[in-house]
Symmetry: C2
Subunit: 575 residues, 2 copies
């Protein structure tokens, strides 16, 4: 029971001090979340209130089922972009069908997350490599910022890939709405200044560092208030400045996702990708924050928490949600002690949905777009390309393919290609393992590559260290390599395979070893193994290989050297 309901643990120890800390954090996060929720709904192609609704019930459900003390669940930039791409395949933005499909997507994603959690399959997220994630987030940041330019320019552009977006913007350049552009640029410039210049200024003006921090978080709210007032006073909506307009004044409505099989079939793969990307993003934030306070999170229970949050979003007018980076960090910095802080945030947002929505009628969409652009540009990190290039070409290939395909063909193609390519490259490399011929490092019992170290060898004994597990993809490689090495050397009487790096020998490789043993025997050469690990040896003992092998199994390579090296008188030094 406690395993699936972490609230039972922390709820019992809840006291007044914790309550105060949680309440303060909730107020700060609520102020930050109001414009952010509206903006991300815009990014997802949904009405603004969907962003608020997606922040209320999901937070409450995560509070019950989640394990992170600081994670703030709700709409986030990347998942909003992925939602727009997925739902855009089945309906036109702004229609009833679009909002209904977003609910279905949230339900599918929630069911998948919860299902993976109950099956304890959180490990599948490990198959997204860091470079693929970095590349995907960077490219998504570029896509998101570009997608918002239409709101800054006041033109009706569209598209889900960078070429589509740029082309569409280019064709609408003649219809720029200048008042919108003025508001958009001013808001963007102001928000960049808030990020970089406002806090030092406030501190110079005598505010404490904490107060300056909170004031900085309220920057977007200030931009919202000022531009909304401006539009309302000057009647700029009549001059073509797009505004948010009428937003229903209500608590989250009870909604029913469309469960037609056709729709589910189309949205299943996008929902899976959204689930995994959302989970990876969320869990990495949660683990970073937990480590700072020496707490632990349980990834499988996190899947259940996020699953519950998404199912909640599906039935209360929201769309797919996950744990957001910036909001969680704010929550943490503001001193949130328990998930109850999230509950209080939900209450704050519910009050906003009930009371504040009439005030945002004149809120310009350009201001929301500016909020998004400033937020996502911090996601763009091209540094990873350089690091990957220096360190490993395979990682570079994965990260650059992910970036290019995400920009050129959209989020789903990008992340799928990144995952497949990184796994394929890993498989390819382990199908062509590094093999070192080793000799004795003089004065030690240690054996190293004859090409890299000054070592001793015997002319009638060759020791090959295979730097890979032996499995079906490299079984034939092993045969070819070994028989080639042996063919060129007449004096050879013993071949030792040093198995210190062989962590597995599967059935295909076992058959190859048997074939090698037979072929070497025919040539009068004995095959020996050394440093076979326990688990590998356990398995070999269950086969007939050990009965047939022409040579011996040595505990250490040194034992093999002593036993077999003594048979030849000469020991040649090798550079």
């Amino acid at each position: 029971m406690h395993r699936y309901l972490p609230i039972l643990d922390w709820g019992r120890r809840y006291d007044r001090a914790t309550l105060t800390a949680d309440l303060i954090a909730a107020v700060i996060v609520t102020i930050m979340l109001i414009p952010q929720s509206l903006a991300y709904a815009l990014l997802a192609g949904l009405p603004p209130e969907a962003g608020l609704y997606a922040s209320i019930v999901p937070i409450l459900l995560y509070t019950v089922f989640g394990t992170s003390r600081a994670l703030a669940v709700g709409p986030v930039a990347v998942v909003s972009l992925m939602t727009a791409a997925a739902v855009g395949q089945v309906a036109e933005a702004g229609t009833m069908g679009y909002a209904a499909a977003a609910l279905t997507l949230a339900l599918l994603s929630g069911a998948m997350l919860a299902g993976l959690g109950l099956l304890r399959m959180g490990f599948i997220a490990n198959f997204l490599s860091h470079p693929v994630i970095s590349g995907f987030i960077t490219a998504s940041g570029v896509l998101i910022a570009t997608s918002q330019l239409k709101h800054i320019l006041g033109v009706p552009a569209s598209g889900h890939t960078l070429p589509e977006m740029v082309d569409s913007l280019w064709h609408h350049l003649d219809s720029i709405n200048w008042p919108t552009l003025a508001i958009g640029l001013a808001a963007t410039a102001f928000l960049f200044w808030v990020r970089k210049g406002m806090k030092p200024l406030l501190i110079r003006l005598g505010l404490s560092k904490g107060t300056a921090d909170v004031a900085t978080k309220a920057g977007p709210v200030l931009a919202v208030v000022v531009t909304t007032t401006l539009v309302a006073l000057l009647g700029l909506d009549a001059a073509g400045v797009a505004v948010v307009g009428a937003v229903p004044q209500s608590l989250p409505p009870l909604t029913m996702p469309d469960l037609s099989l056709d729709l589910i079939g189309t949205l299943a793969l996008p929902a899976l990708l959204i689930s995994i990307i959302g989970f990876v993003e969320s869990v990495s934030v949660a683990q970073t924050l937990a480590a700072k306070r020496r707490q632990r999170i349980d990834p499988d229970q996190e899947l259940i928490g996020l699953g519950a949050a998404n199912i909640g979003a599906a039935f209360t007018g929201g769309y797919p949600v996950t744990g957001g980076f910036s909001r969680s960090v704010v929550n943490f910095d503001a001193g949130a002690e328990t998930p109850a802080a999230g509950g209080f945030t939900a209450i704050g947002l519910a009050i906003a949905a009930l009371a504040l929505t009439p005030l945002i009628f004149f809120l310009p969409k350009a201001t929301l777009a500016a909020t998004i652009i400033v937020a996502v540009l911090s996601l763009v990190d091209l540094h990873v390309l350089r690091t990957a290039w220096t360190y490993s070409r395979a990682d570079f290939a994965a990260v650059s393919a992910t970036i290019l395909l995400t920009l050129g063909f959209g989020v789903e193609a990008g992340v799928s290609a990144g995952v497949i390519l990184s796994i394929a490259l890993h498989l390819w490399r382990s199908s062509r393992p590094h093999v070192a011929e080793v000799g004795l490092v003089p004065g030690t019992q240690h054996f190293r590559n004859i090409r890299r170290h000054r070592v001793e060898t015997h002319p009638h004994l060759v020791t090959l260290r295979i730097d890979e597990s032996l499995w079906f993809a490299n079984a034939r490689f092993l045969e070819d390599m070994l028989l080639n090495r042996v063919a060129s050397d007449d004096r050879l009487r013993h071949v030792v395979l040093m198995c210190s790096a062989v962590n597995e020998v599967d059935l295909s490789a076992l058959e190859s070893l048997e074939a090698i043993n037979t072929r070497l025997s025919e040539q009068g050469i004995s095959l020996h193994l050394s440093e076979v690990k326990g688990p590998v040896m356990d398995r070999l003992e269950r086969s007939h290989f050990l009965d047939h092998i022409s040579g011996r199994i040595f505990l250490s390579q040194w034992d093999a050297w002593v036993a077999l090296g003594g048979e030849g008188p000469e020991a040649a030094a090798n550079a």
Copy 2:
């Protein structure tokens, strides 16, 4: 030039002795191939002459481009079954569209094989594990034998999976044609006897072993001659015995495959599977035979040879072909010295197509079905299930899934599932590596698992040997495992990662190592590495990790033991 045209090598050294050997082999193979080609065309759902045509030009082209001295290319059982399954999706057997689609399939398969060969991508065949291939061949044997029962019973059954076939046969049991059944059972019994009992009998009757062998190969021809004569003399075709009927008397016609994009789209995946399965089957036969004469084959050039053969089949009324096991072994045993033997076989079959086809009008399909059944039952090998079960559960899962899915859902589902499952299991295992805590084997410089060996340890030093390359799928596992191990031990001052089995450290794992280094430093513990391999060290030197690591890099674990072990006075013995 010589690389792509091996004929230039062996053609230059061709002499009279080689000619004689090749001619004798060709006669024997031709006699064997006539009934086999007709039968496999029947299995593929094509008119019988397609089997002959598929054996003529393809053999000639392989002779020019192939590298194996003994491989005999033409229709084979498994590829014929796969052809029936693929082409059956787009057309009804017996129609013009069906034959045209088979040509398209051959062209696609030929283009893919040649393309893979030119790109030197023969290695992708390595990703089919031995258990998956064995399971697939076994299940295909069962499917093929079952599919032929309708010809033995003389009923119009259908289906591409075992349940479909059995169900269809069951519903037609009341319409059994008894003369057909009599011929079918007699032919099957005779052919089984030819395999098991005829050769010993002939040898007892005074024939030499070689002659007895040749006579045995002619067994199917004898069955064909006897049953055809019987049907013709008794007029059994009027009694409902299905016969081959009129076969055009002609050389292979020039045909043009249907290249509509729709058809290509549907057949692309089946063509890829046929190409890879055909290549694997062919290359393993070719390598086995080449090894017996200490010759070598070039797998990439084999792809080109098989590609040319299939493209030839597409333009001359054939269907997908590959190097067959039984025909190649017969060719080899009969003494074929060069690919010219194949050329002579093609001439023999061309003469058969021109002159002999009127003679097979009354050949009962039941006889051909008997030929197939007897041939494919030797493919069925359930022994692999037992071997896999004893040796490794992962291999057992792959082989049993392949068998069950091939039988239950058809050849494409079976082989795809087998490949995907075996790769997924490999990835899963390497994402949860074995980690051993090691200590010094007394009196040596060798370190082994403290749970398996009696070794010495130091209380303030823990050495973990990670039995896997460090890559993205196990990077998080490494962090969790290491930090858990450290958390439970207050006396710890040094952690050594013994990297003898670490063949790669990718960027994700590097980031995890950096995180581990930071976390351990915070707890006052130094992180060291030992036995880092050359290629891994080269790469680490290109990152900043070596600047930040709190401990040292030791050439050998013994060096680490000496340097770090001395810092603590006590050395505890551990069982």
